[in-house]
Amino acid sequence: ADIRIGMAEALTGPAAKYGVAIKNGFTLAAEGINAKGGINGNKIVLVIEDEQGKKEEAINVFKKLIFQDKVLMIFGPTLSNSAFAADPIANATKTVVFGTSNTADGITGMGPFTFRNSVMEADVLPVTTRAAVKHFGIKKVAVLYGNDDAFTKSGYDVFKSALADQKITVTDTETYAKGDVDFKAQLTKIKASNPDAIVCSCLAEEAANIILQTRSLGMKQPFIGGNGFNSPKLFEIAKDAADNTLMGSPWSAENIAPANKQFIADYKAKFNADPDQFAAQAYDAMHIVTEALKQVKLSGNPEKDRLALRDALPAVKHDGATGKFAFRRAAPKDGKEAGYDAQQDAIVNIAKGGKFVLLK
């Protein structure tokens, strides 16, 4: 029988650039798995819905997937904000919800059916800053982040405490808002504070623009970024202006592990574009679920199967495009049972000649 898996991602609206990459990652993985005979002979069928990056839509889509399409589990939603609205529905109906792009704090606190393989910033950023201090000999930095977005804001929070822990002086902290394209005012102020480097919790496209504008103001400082920087977009837009940018992430296009090389090659062949981290994490997530499902005997009764999947998932260990992966039980919140976060090592990369290479 087919295994129906729901996918609720933002396929239209401003978050679509992530949602579409994620969808590509899933379809690529599912096709690959099906081509190899599926899971114990069963084919994966993706039930794809667009949640537009809006919370009400996410709730509606989750309900439709769970009650009408009777999917086994749901991947998504794209944004953490939507996850806060929709994941409680999955937990209440005892359906596994698996986020591949939700990095905000507290996502897995929503219940024991919540899983994610998106690595929390708290695991990655401290590693990156430490590497930066060592590599560039940094003493003081300025910080720039998007303050109206859950992802960039929580990245900032982590940076802030990491910088404090590592006793790095912050010369100036600046923010911008979604949709801003001109960062010169903030950068001029940063310039006046004369930092050794600029720490930036931003998404790739904003980051690229910020880097270009920094250079056009005659500033030479290197950038330190998080997950958000990990995209080919950065170089499509900024090219080698981005050189010397440090970025930590579990996935790197430079990672020469066979699983990753395979992924990148397949992705390019199918979509005629370079994959990014969002696609990679989605790709891996599908494989992680596959591993779990291999251990499960599906009964055809959705309620039973959902429970079985949820019991099988935590034990999965996977070595995929993003490297070695395991689940880690999240700390229970307010006495409520929690779900599972990703346990993965971050790789620190440095930009050289228009691409990220591993920092030695």
Partner: protein, 293 residues
């Protein structure tokens, strides 16, 4: 730092002004807040991008074609959507809502055609280096935007103030019926206005796309918010107002970052707008007819 911030303010303000010129033109003449202006702005950017990157057209030619194409789209929208509404004596909010529909359609089709992610013009389309005088920096596109928006404003202003065409447009703005009685080809001028406004929007789109490397189907939306603020701040449909309003907003935003906190950039800008409206209820250049009865 202050001097650099002033330059930042001027360039940002010019971007707003450039966007607002076409926007305010439609508003001034047709009396419609055309919420599809942001989408047309975006489309202009994409058309030029496509021509430059796929057909290797020169930038200026691409820009001209983008302006023509968007102008034509503006005319089509006017012909198919706004004109029937005028004919039917629709209440004044209906055209605005209809333009929301237009914006949704254009944005979605653009996303379908071009994808959701940001694009940029190919490297080398324009000189990337910035012009530096001492410690002050300005890129060539930014300089171009400042100059172009000033020149366009002055041209438009002269047309509106000094020519019979401008007077006719203002007559239409106040009362199409009166304009008809004066022998003005009202429908023709509506189409002309829609064309000009959309072409201006496209030009703004190309320049903004060039200077910020962030061409996306959604780039029009934030600009639209600012554009609305600018035209209201300047006074309904006033060309000078669009310019001054744009510069004012630019200065307010940049200076609030420079001397307050970037957290409150938008709040300061919109808060100021709020206060200015309380002091001058029809914007900075809005005419007030004192006569009551």
């Amino acid at each position: 730092m202050f001097e650099q911030q002033l330059i930042n303010a001027l360039t940002l303000g010019s971007v707003y002004a450039l966007f607002a010129l076409g926007f305010t033109l439609v508003f001034g003449v047709l009396g419609v807040i055309n919420l599809s202006h942001g989408a047309i702005f975006m489309l202009g950017s994409y058309i030029a991008l496509l021509l430059v990157s796929q057909f290797q057209l020169s930038l200026w030619l691409a820009m001209a074609v983008a302006m023509l194409a968007c102008g034509a789209l503006g005319v089509i929208v006017d012909f198919l959507v706004l004109r029937p509404l005028r004919r039917r004596n629709a209440p004044h909010l209906s055209p605005m809502i209809a333009t929301i529909g237009v914006a949704i359609m254009i944005t979605n089709i653009a996303q379908g055609l071009f994808g959701a992610e940001n694009k940029r013009f190919p490297f080398g389309t324009i000189p990337e280096d910035s012009i530096s005088i001492g410690n002050l920096h300005l890129t060539a596109v930014q300089l171009a935007i400042v100059l172009i928006s000033f020149i366009l404003m002055i041209v438009l202003l002269l047309v509106m103030r000094r020519t019979q065409l401008g007077r006719a447009l203002r007559a239409i703005a106040e009362s199409p019926k009166a304009a008809y009685l004066l022998g003005i080809n009202v429908e023709g001028l509506f189409l002309l206005t829609s064309f000009a406004a959309a072409a201006l929007g496209a030009a703004a789109g190309v320049l903004v796309g060039l200077s910020f490397n962030a061409i996306s189907p959604f780039m029009g939306q934030p600009m639209l918010h600012k554009g609305i603020a600018v035209i209201i701040l300047g006074g309904m449909g006033d060309i000078r107002g669009a310019m001054i309003g744009g510069l004012f907003l630019g200065v307010a935003e940049v200076m609030s970052v420079a001397y307050l906190s970037s957290d409150f950039r938008d709040a300061v800008a919109f808060g100021l707008l709020f206060l200015i409206l309380l002091v001058r209820p029809s914007g900075m250049f809005g005419k007030i007819l004192e006569r009551k009865a």
